[in-house]
Symmetry: C2
Amino acid sequence: MDEKVQKVLDYIEEHKEEYLELLLRFCRQPSIAATGEGIEKMAGMVVDELKKLGVEPTVLETGGSPFIYGEIKGEVDRTFGFYDHYDVQPVDPIDEWITPPYSADIRDGVIYARGVADNKDGLVTRLCAVDAWQKVHGKLPLNVKFCFEGEEESGSPHLESVAKAHPEMIQCDGYVWEGGHREKGGPAEITMGVKGLLYVELHAKVSEKDAHSMYAAIMPSAVWHLVEALNTLRDKTGKILIDGFYDGIQPISQAELDALKTDVFSEEDTRKNILGIENFINDEHGEDLLKRLYYQPTCNICGITAGYQGEGSKTVLPGKASCKIDFRLVPGQEPDRILKLLRQHLDKHGFADIEIKCHSGCPAFRSDPNSPFCKAIVRTMETLFHEQPCIQCTSGGTSPMYVFCKEANIPAAMFGASSKNANIHSPNEHLAVDAFYDMIRITATMMHEFARQE
Amino acid sequence: MDEKVQKVLDYIEEHKEEYLELLLRFCRQPSIAATGEGIEKMAGMVVDELKKLGVEPTVLETGGSPFIYGEIKGEVDRTFGFYDHYDVQPVDPIDEWITPPYSADIRDGVIYARGVADNKDGLVTRLCAVDAWQKVHGKLPLNVKFCFEGEEESGSPHLESVAKAHPEMIQCDGYVWEGGHREKGGPAEITMGVKGLLYVELHAKVSEKDAHSMYAAIMPSAVWHLVEALNTLRDKTGKILIDGFYDGIQPISQAELDALKTDVFSEEDTRKNILGIENFINDEHGEDLLKRLYYQPTCNICGITAGYQGEGSKTVLPGKASCKIDFRLVPGQEPDRILKLLRQHLDKHGFADIEIKCHSGCPAFRSDPNSPFCKAIVRTMETLFHEQPCIQCTSGGTSPMYVFCKEANIPAAMFGASSKNANIHSPNEHLAVDAFYDMIRITATMMHEFARQE
């Protein structure tokens, strides 16, 4: 371990209590994107902490939660962007929490709090690592930019306008992106890209009112119509049947195939514990399974609703039916184009009357794994944990990486020390105290590694 | 008009207020089958009224609401069965009622009350007509049997056991069955049969818990599975694709075809006002439309549910999905056989894992339109209203007629004076006061006509 880094790591070790206290304070402040509860106070706390680091933050009013920006110059002219968010998901169902979601109760070395693993841990980690560097060495090894938004849990509706209005703010040499896992005893996982997303609702309607089901013989059914429409979208293997849907998809590169071999994906744990299923789709295994997870677009029904859904029987013919669908997209699939293809598909198959409501769309993004940034992240993990990290060229999930990274082709990576079973978005969200300290150490080491990377 | 009948009609005219008071009193007593609210009191009131007619009622405990039976001997040995029910539907949504559901408020000659058109009107009508005959002539023209149940709105779960345990009670020469319409200014409608019903729920499950939709690429989807299964059940024209489903269906007879010509079904009123749709299924019209309504079985989705159904977007892969289906059946289709065919169909098409929960099943029933009973009913309407009634050999709806009528092949008919737009089962259920008096007159006249029918 480089001596300069070691001193910072020692400082972190000596100030563990202080850093933990900051995390707990952040977790005790509600900041729910969906309702706006506590957002203003939380933003104020973030601004105050940045000021303590010597930053004069810029607070951009977005029309939603403010976007908070700050920068610090370092020894070399290379720049880290820290992308994190200070908003959290709602706490419902509240009665399933063992301790209140904002109490930040610590039990057996684990902190339980809404937001502790998504993503107040990440945000506080950056602040603590920078603080430790400054306290020990005065100047950071490289420039850093803090880009903290407050609407990630609502789909980052204003992030694109921020990026377009302030290209100078978002420009950097690599984004340390929120999120990331390292299971206890396992290698660090580094994720260098994300899938895109198109989220739509389909609405079928034949009448404003429901009818007595004796009329089923002569009255068209909105729910049958919707079911028929859905059935034209996908075959039983999950293949999407929309003309042109797979056009232009970037093929899997050799680097990506190589990365699959480092993946620590546990089929058994995912199947049994995370998903609770008997078999994966089409009974896939091994590399084929991972190829599907990372490189295949999907068409998923998030929810469907029509008519009577209570106990017992009600003989009713519903006048309306609707469903929510998310398409996970891969590079080469622009959400706008997929939306157009979906409309064309429905029109062509006799479902021109089915309304499409588009909720959001975001393209996929993949970083160049050979960029200095990505290499520095990998070396950080090797240095700290003395083993080869698991490299995922993309996540199966989605994040607005594209918005910040695509225009200037900036690499980004997600990594961290929290577990996949951290209950993010669910009751009893949690993070091990030790994982939090690891995340500070990773961030501090990373600054050094990227500063010296050729 | 026969003089004997005219005297009874005159008596009814003179005692209108008294009879109306009885209906209002019955309507002011809650008697909700689903919750049991007021059932006991209501049953007591029915028993008391029967006693006033000189009947010593038999009250059968069924395990649910009591079944109330009574009989009166008349001048000739021919017997009417009066089938009615003293239970009603729940009053929800309560805030849509203009006046409280049990206030029986009268506005502009219309009574508003839960149950006033389904079926306290029918039940009280029988009591009043019998009372008027007895007051005027002492003895009724024929025997009557009162068969009053208290669970019709819950699907008559104990009616079959009553029928099996007491064949002597249910034996008669024709059933005056609850329900029936006569629109203002239109002819009387007589319905001589009903469709059958099979009500099932389909349950698809891949996991106890919902998953993050990033896993859609590798995790099977319960809701896609259900949608695929549903799509094998029916084609776009409404034709059911279950092997053997149409086997053994009784063809439409000439008498039935002839009856179609008397039907007063208004395409425009049904389409616009009752259903609120733009076109009937397959854009059918005229006789073809009526043939579908009365003589085609259906497979209707009453409701479907899975995953997230709230506002906005949630990227979730639901672990479970379910739907409720009602099959309306025609003579020749036993519900048990259809249920077996459905199971076989799902198994054969790769959906053996989809669970079927059967709620209820009841076969169709059609009366012989040439029976003395049916002829007497037709003549009653001609006599009272001086025009040919509309004859429907079957309803598109379902009623447990089969249970009482099939074994002994007893004809049954539904007729009345309430409107199709009476909001039965809905807020502001109503009945015109004049329609109630007409229904008493019809019942009284009918006894005379059936007694003398050859």
